[in-house]
Symmetry: C2
Subunit: 380 residues, 2 copies
């Protein structure tokens, strides 16, 4: 019978994390509900899309422990966003939830939470987790939110979107003696990004691409340390945002990640540097003309210029960009989309190392250490 | 063999009008092309989606008459938007079109224009139209762009989207001795907007909803006089935007528009005024809870307040808004979506006149003369 009082704006900001995650339809209709648990001094909201579980815990003065309940997520969020007042009064009253703000009040029916899956999150020391997460994630590292965000976003593009490609659909995280590394590949190109910290003794985990996307959403704009943890074939992430405590948990992928180090070329017949943005712009223009399957674009690299061209059903286009090249002139073809995505994280100048017209090429950023992309040329 | 030189920005702005119109796919593949006609001192671009025809004429120094040609629209616009330079060089050279800008150049294949429909636009005196529009639109009026925009946008929402509703899918324009009037109705609600100018002797024309949308796109942000013309079952619109001359033509709808004046109520048992925005906000919140078919919301109007409520599968909501009412207390139900849309053009205070719990209600804007909306209450 307790009434919880929130300031609307920060409350909505956190609640929207769950709105994005909770599905509107699902074979398991319970997943379309938002969960609530009143706890000591806090109210916890939780939800899941069946792949990724998420929990947001907000401090509320005077809150006391109560049973977990489920509220239909779509109308709850729809109403929440439109509330007229600055304050939100939320009251759990037996089989219903009352929401009042300004002159508006509503009563939503609740569903019992008995059949909702028990979500397991990592539980930092000294915090009551509301869920039995104790010891579920024994391998734990702490890193800066911005660093984890970079690790995930720099390589995410290279994963496969194909439903049947197994581990190619995930991002490999490796804790190595030299530092942490993220790797993704779809077999045609590869992206790798590494940081000196944190270090580890060979922990490897493959996080599904869609889980990576949810982690990226949580991490965007955040600062300060976050906890990343692994255990029982699962990954956990915990962070704070102002007064809110946010936790995510998801299954890792099973399987062996390919031996990616052997495809990274070490010797080059030609190395060229150029403005990444100029190359990206030229590739975007030429992609309009290239065939829609292989997105083939031809490059001739020679001395101080690269000539890019593409030809398709509509016609032909050509563009020259200035480069600084060392080595033999070389002519080769790429999937423009792969080259463009490999260049996407690079600001300023890029370095392209060619090992031959049909063997893998290496892309580096001149100004940001840690990023490497491998793109395999098209066989002509 | 002539090269036309354009400044990229204004050229693109006008070209994009055609990009939005020209379909990517069409049973008639010729409609996926953009047409070009070099004329004396100008280059004319044209296109059609089969319902609405559009022409944009841009002055180009030294241009001379040439045959009309077709270029595949999607790659042309795709390339145009990504061009690197400030200037665009466009060259028609036999079977191909060359586009060059900065370090980029491309050559697109042209298609012959023999089989493309001959588009007919209104041709203002003293201008060469490139198309045989002479005398095709004998009934012509001039009005301000902003006034025509208001006439169309104030009533557009009330048309039917149902494929089989005939004239209910269009907006009626009437040139009357008292002024010009626009009317739309789907049989459940009606919107009417009128201006004192221009006047006429009973010309009536029903413009299809989708054509209205294209006219609205052309008129947005424009100032100054525009020409609206009718003839041979067609509507024509001509306007200027900077140096560009823009013309639209489309078929009118056939059929008799219903006798709408008889459904506008004249006598009221209760009249109430209120802030339109407060009512809209309350309706939006309650619509979240209302059933998804009839969007039923109940109103109780009495003295100084209106109590709105809705109930559906998820629960019940209620909100009170302050009103000033004269007449007997009345309780009735509306489709919240219809009431919301009827209120949508109203800024400041609205006036609602009720003729009874099941007979049509009238909505007016207190501050903008000319707008009337009729909403029929739901039978409970």
């Amino acid at each position: 019978m307790k009434t919880f009082i929130f300031q609307k704006k920060p409350f909505i900001e956190q609640a929207l994390l769950l709105e994005r995650l909770i599905p509107n339809r699902n074979p398991n209709p319970l997943l379309t509900y938002l969960g609530l648990v009143p706890g000591k001094g806090a109210l916890t909201f939780f939800g899941s899309n069946g792949e990724v579980d998420l929990e947001v815990r907000l401090p509320v003065e005077g809150a006391e422990e109560g049973p977990r309940v489920l509220v239909p997520a779509a109308p709850f969020f729809g109403l929440l966003k439109g509330l007229p007042g600055e304050e939100v009064h939320l009251r759990l009253d037996g089989p219903s939830l009352e929401l009042a703000s300004g002159r508006f009040r509503t009563r939503l029916g609740l569903a019992g939470a008995e059949d909702y899956p028990q979500l397991v999150f990592l539980s930092p020391a000294g915090e009551s987790a509301n869920h039995p997460g104790e010891g579920a994630f024994p391998e734990e590292v702490t890193l800066e939110a911005e660093d984890l965000l970079l690790l995930l976003t720099r390589v995410r593009y290279a994963t496969s979107n194909d439903e049947y490609r197994g581990v190619f659909r995930g991002v490999l995280l490796e804790l190595r003696p030299k530092g942490i590394r993220a790797v993704a590949t779809d077999g045609y190109r590869l992206a790798l990004f590494e940081r000196d910290e944190p270090r580890g003794e060979g922990l490897k985990a493959i996080i599904p691409g869609r889980t990576v996307d949810e982690m990226v959403r949580l991490l965007r704009g955040k600062r300060g340390p976050v906890t990343l943890a692994f255990g029982q074939g699962r990954v956990g992430l915990a962070l704070r945002d102002g007064e809110a405590q946010i936790r995510l948990a998801a299954l890792l992928m099973e399987g062996e990640f390919p031996d990616y180090e052997r495809v990274i070329p070490k010797d080059f017949v030609l190395q060229a540097t150029f403005e990444a943005e100029a190359m990206r712009e030229a590739l975007k223009r030429l992609m309009v003309l290239a065939d829609k399957e292989a997105h083939r674009v031809d490059l001739l690299l020679q001395g101080e210029r690269a000539v890019l061209s593409a030809e398709g059903a509509y016609g032909r286009g050509e563009e020259e960009i200035p480069i600084e090249a060392q080595g033999k002139p070389l002519s080769l073809s790429y999937n423009a989309k792969h080259l463009l995505e490999g260049l996407s994280p690079i600001e300023g100048r890029a370095r392209l190392g060619l090992s031959g017209p049909t063997s893998p090429s290496l892309l580096l950023a001149e100004e940001e250490r840690g990023y490497q992309a491998v793109v395999v040329p098209l066989r002509v």
